[in-house]
């Protein structure tokens, strides 16, 4: 353990991730608030942030459980929201494959949107030295993980203390607005969001909160089809 913490690449990765950690603070706080709003207890909220380690999946799980959706629906919906990790996994694979199995199988647990971006840059900068890159990734990933736990706990405590009249629960959708809005620059993405949004409201009567997953999948399909159509149109 000691030789890891004293490794220069580990320290560099940790330090370089701190600005991204700062940017994650509001999202972590809000995720904690979401867990409190859904009625999770302290250990449950901490378990979500430590083990699931994904803001979108944690909030989805909290929302759906508070609405008494069946277990299978909660799990399926969170799984679809986490499918974007496949994308990162595929991109990271060439860098992680040369590592010993313990590292190769352990490091992806820390794979998040922020860690992914930093890791790709660093693996390229270290001329694909797998060990240096792995140490750097571990440092950055650990910084994010620790920051996520601290902010989730603070948010959970604040969510239980701050009176409902402050509308703190409204910060939860706002955080996701902050994530989605900048992405709405291409027509297929806009269509994906519009189709998903329209359907989730139109199908609100569906049992077991299935409207969320149906709307999400339809939005993904619409975006994909629009993307293909756009490509065909521009190559003609």
């Amino acid at each position: 353990m000691r030789h890891i913490v004293s490794h220069s690449e580990f320290r560099l990765g940790f330090a370089e991730m701190l600005p991204a950690c700062l940017g994650l603070v509001p999202f972590g706080l809000v995720t904690g608030v979401g867990a409190a709003a859904a009625g999770a207890d302290f250990w449950g909220a901490l378990g979500m942030s430590m083990i699931i380690f994904s803001g979108a999946a944690q909030i989805l799980a909290a929302q759906l459980m508070a609405a008494h959706a069946p277990l299978a629906v909660v799990i399926l919906t969170c799984f679809v929201a986490g499918l974007r990790f496949l994308m990162y996994s595929a991109a990271m694979a060439p860098y992680l494959r040369p590592l010993p199995p313990r590292w190769r199988n352990g490091l992806p647990f820390l794979l998040t949107d922020q860690a992914f971006a930093a890791a790709i840059r660093r693996f390229d900068a270290t001329h694909h030295d797998p060990q240096a890159g792995a140490m750097h990734f571990l440092g950055g990933g650990l910084a994010l993980w620790l920051c996520w736990q601290a902010t989730n706990v603070c948010g959970f405590l604040a969510g239980n203390l701050i009176p409902a009249s402050w509308s703190l629960d409204f910060a939860v959708p706002l955080c996701f607005v902050a994530l989605v809005a900048p992405a709405l620059v291409s027509w297929p993405t806009i269509l994906a969001a519009v189709v998903a949004g329209a359907l989730v409201l139109a199908l609100a009567g569906m049992p077991m909160k299935l409207n969320l997953i149906v709307a999400g999948l339809a939005g993904i399909a619409a975006g994909t089809l629009a993307d293909m159509a756009k490509e065909r149109w521009s190559t003609r």
Partner: protein, 108 residues
């Protein structure tokens, strides 16, 4: 509200599934290219899933009816514009909450 056993089942199962998604191409499909159609559709997962998650939180009242002219909708639109412009979470959050508080204060 949420019973402890259900919560922990969800934590463990979703945690494992998330981990397996993160591990997928590193470990299991190590020698395979991602199918192009899958790669293409994964790009639209965040926009679709997050919009489906967020819109009811903004539009739907606790009694299940939708309101498109509420303080929350106005605040969310303002936040959306700020988010689109700044691409940053904190200004988006501040703009949305400030707008909500301002409208609530005006309608007092």
């Amino acid at each position: 509200m949420v019973d402890t056993l259900t919560l922990w089942v969800v934590i463990v199962v979703v945690g494992v599934l998330n981990y397996l998604s993160r591990l997928s191409f590193v470990a299991f499909f190590a020698n395979r290219q991602m199918p192009p159609l899958l790669a293409r559709s994964l790009r639209y997962v965040p926009a679709a899933m997050l919009t489906a998650l967020v819109l009811p939180m903004i539009v739907t009242a606790p009694d299940g009816t939708d309101h498109f002219a509420s303080p929350r909708v106005v605040a969310a639109v303002v936040a959306g514009i700020v988010g689109f412009r700044t691409r940053r979470t904190l200004p988006t959050l501040v703009a949305g909450m400030a707008t909500l508080y301002a409208i609530q204060w005006l309608l007092r």
